[in-house]
């Protein structure tokens, strides 16, 4: 597959992670592609990706350095903040984790390949005093780095939160996920003029709370759904920002790269 021409210099479209064996069967990667060669194949098509593994494991500078060396100059990464700072927070321990994370992603910042750090908060992270204080402290610790926050709890969808993020120049992640009670709604609010961030999780309402990724993110966006988003991005989001990134997380059966390519077509 020949690489599509870059959409614009400022918008990066890609997928959340790139190493999925099932994408070979889906036809996205050529037959017989080894996991070690998937990034090579991926970067022929997309110019950015979300690093998922940094959520599971604290990034290590040497490994990130090797990753940076593999990709071309124009390629960018968004790095997910490690779970020890979002889902498994240990009181008193997390500032040390932030320091380790900063050290781990240092090759990304040094080489200018970091799009931003993605703070993906869990569904139970509601807008309580305790969590508000924690988030404020976390953002303080990450100061100086480009940061995007993804809420999964609807209680954060208030103007007060948006204006605070705006003050801090922190990107609010626009999420596309099922219409389920309690989930953060689909919004086109821009809080950072330097960067917008859209994540497509799929709208599989039945599988969303299954606890199984393969069910939760099993969704194929229709042309109409993608066209609606293309309009929103073009008319409401892009005029407000100078750059942005759009990532598809519906990785099951290669739907993410397929939908991402379609959205690029629609945005062009």
């Amino acid at each position: 597959m020949s690489p599509p021409p870059s959409l614009t210099n400022q918008i990066f479209v890609g997928t959340s992670g790139y190493s999925y064996g099932e994408w070979i069967d889906a036809g996205f990667y050529p037959d017989g592609t080894h996991s070690s060669n998937m990034l090579d194949a991926y970067m022929q098509i997309f110019h950015a990706t979300e690093l998922n593994y940094t959520w599971y494991q604290m990034p290590k500078a040497q490994a990130i350095h090797r990753l940076c060396a593999k990709v071309p100059e124009h390629f960018r990464f968004a790095a997910k903040l490690t779970r020890t700072m979002t889902h498994e927070i240990q009181k008193g321990e997390w500032p040390k984790q932030v320091m380790l994370f900063r050290q781990g992603i240092e090759p990304l910042t040094r080489s200018g390949k970091l799009l931003c750090i993605l703070i993906q908060l869990p569904p139970y992270f509601e807008r309580s005093v305790k969590f508000r204080h924690y988030l404020a402290a976390l953002l303080d610790e990450l100061e100086g780095l480009p940061v995007a926050v993804e809420f999964r709890h609807a209680s954060w969808a208030t103007d007060k939160v948006f204006s605070e993020l705006e003050q801090r120049n922190v990107t609010l992640v626009s999420v596309d996920e099922p219409d389920l009670p309690g989930l953060f709604p689909r919004l086109d609010v821009v809080t950072n003029p330097d960067l917008f961030y859209v994540r497509f999780h799929g709208r599989n309402a039945r599988g969303w709370r299954s606890g199984n990724m393969q069910t939760q993110f099993d969704y194929d966006y229709t042309d109409q759904e993608l066209a609606e988003w293309a309009t929103i991005i073009k008319t409401a989001i892009m005029p407000e920002t100078s750059a942005g990134c759009i990532f598809f997380n519906n990785h099951v059966r290669g739907q993410a790269p397929k939908n991402a390519l379609r959205l690029i077509d629609l945005l062009r």
Partner: protein
């Protein structure tokens, strides 16, 4: 396609099991070692004890010299095996390809083929870690790599806590700066050879060609050549709950050295094993008895059965002398295990012209007892050997 291998390692497994069983031990330097034996050595120790310099295989006397306040707990091997089995049962939900030691806290899972069901290997690893924490209060180290060797090195690197994901294609670069002793398959003699050449790191050893490696390692050279490059094609074997052994355990409520109690426990185990054998139309061709003493030591004896049998009386008759052979110490016994190995198919063709021998009468009796148990419950009938003596009964009902 690359494989996705998860390695879960519950560091200091025996110490972790004992600490879970006795929460008061938490935070103390715990040493697992037999009690009351002058030449006892450390079987396992907690992280706190490790930090103080206590190591596996060290004499207990020396460990006590390092820290007089160490908590010494005798090993209970069957407990570790039981916990290990429970861990495997939880893991098997994600893949049938599971490999582990009997009681060492190490589990390998090959989740290459189950990605479509459960998602990427890292996600399965995190799920298992959470499940182990919730169900067993263990906090395993985990790693994901493309083979067992790299996965095991990765958990060794982050021990005692943490995780490591070695990206496909990153194996060589990951191993390069590490010390040679982290490669699990290199034994002490191999390491000594490397050290003699002033080679201490994997990157240094890689400079040697295969021909050069053949000088110190002879026929092992190709293996060593692959290991230091992170190449390991050995598969994760399939987990089989119905493996070719049957085992029965008996833990004495109070430690004992009474022959009657041992014989009674032995008969109950024989009955349990033979019943399973008959249900599966199998016969056992070898038996093994493991006696665990209260001080943590074990004695083991095995015996081949010719012909293979599933008859309670015949097996018990063979087991009694084996028990006597195994029981060589005066220390009280805490636990007894009977293992029936080498299971073979039972002959289903009956003899045409046999008379009523003692064996055939016993076989008929066993079959009759099986039928009664099936109809009225497991405890509806039992041999006199397994019930308490009249004196005991009298004492109980008074």
């Amino acid at each position: 396609m690359n494989r996705s291998i998860i390695h879960l390692n519950i560091a200091d497994f025996a110490a972790a099991v004992e600490t879970n069983a006795q929460p008061a031990l938490k935070g103390y330097p715990v040493v697992i070692a037999p009690l009351g034996t002058p030449r006892a050595v450390v079987y396992d120790m907690s992280e706190e004890a490790y930090k103080e310099g206590i190591r596996k295989g060290m004499t207990l006397t020396r460990a006590k010299r390092i820290n007089k306040k160490i908590k010494i707990v005798p090993p209970v091997f069957n407990r570790y095996e039981r916990v290990m089995k429970d861990l495997l049962k939880q893991s098997v939900a994600f893949t049938p390809f599971i490999e582990s030691g009997t009681s060492d806290g190490h589990i390998f899972l090959d989740v290459t083929g189950s990605g479509r069901l459960f998602g990427p290997g890292v996600d399965v690893a995190v799920k298992l870690k959470k499940a182990f924490k919730k169900t067993f209060n263990f906090d395993p180290i985990w790693s994901v790599a493309t083979n067992k060797l790299v996965a095991k090195v990765a958990t060794r690197v982050v021990k005692p806590v943490g995780e490591y994901i070695v990206a496909p294609g990153d194996e060589k670069a990951f191993l390069a700066p590490l010390s040679l002793h982290l490669i699990p398959d290199l034994v002490k003699a191999d390491l000594t050879k490397f050290y003699e050449f002033n080679l201490f790191f994997i990157s240094q050893a890689r400079l040697l060609t295969l021909e050069q490696l053949k000088i110190p390692f002879n026929c092992r050279a190709p293996l060593v050549y692959d290991w230091i490059r992170g190449i390991d094609s050995t598969p994760v074997t399939m987990y089989c709950q119905n493996s070719s052994i049957l085992a029965a355990d008996h833990e004495f409520s109070t430690d004992t050295n009474t022959a009657d109690q041992l014989r009674k426990a032995l008969y109950l185990m024989v009955e349990q094993i033979c019943s399973t054998l008959r249900n599966r139309t199998l016969a056992g061709a070898a038996i093994k008895i493991i006696l665990s003493y209260s001080d943590g030591l074990q004695n083991i004896s095995t015996l081949a059965l010719k012909p293979p049998t599933s008859n309670d009386y015949i097996l018990f008759k063979k087991c009694v002398p084996l028990l006597n052979k195994t029981w060589v110490r005066r220390v009280r016994i805490r636990h007894m295990r009977l293992i029936c190995k080498t299971l073979v198919l039972q002959g289903i063709q009956a003899e045409l012209f046999t008379g009523r021998t003692k064996e055939t009468k016993q076989a008929d009796l066993i079959l009759a007892m099986d039928k009664i148990r099936k109809k009225f419950g497991k405890n509806s009938i039992c041999p006199a050997l397994t019930i308490d003596s009249p004196l005991d009964c009298k004492a109980r009902y008074q």
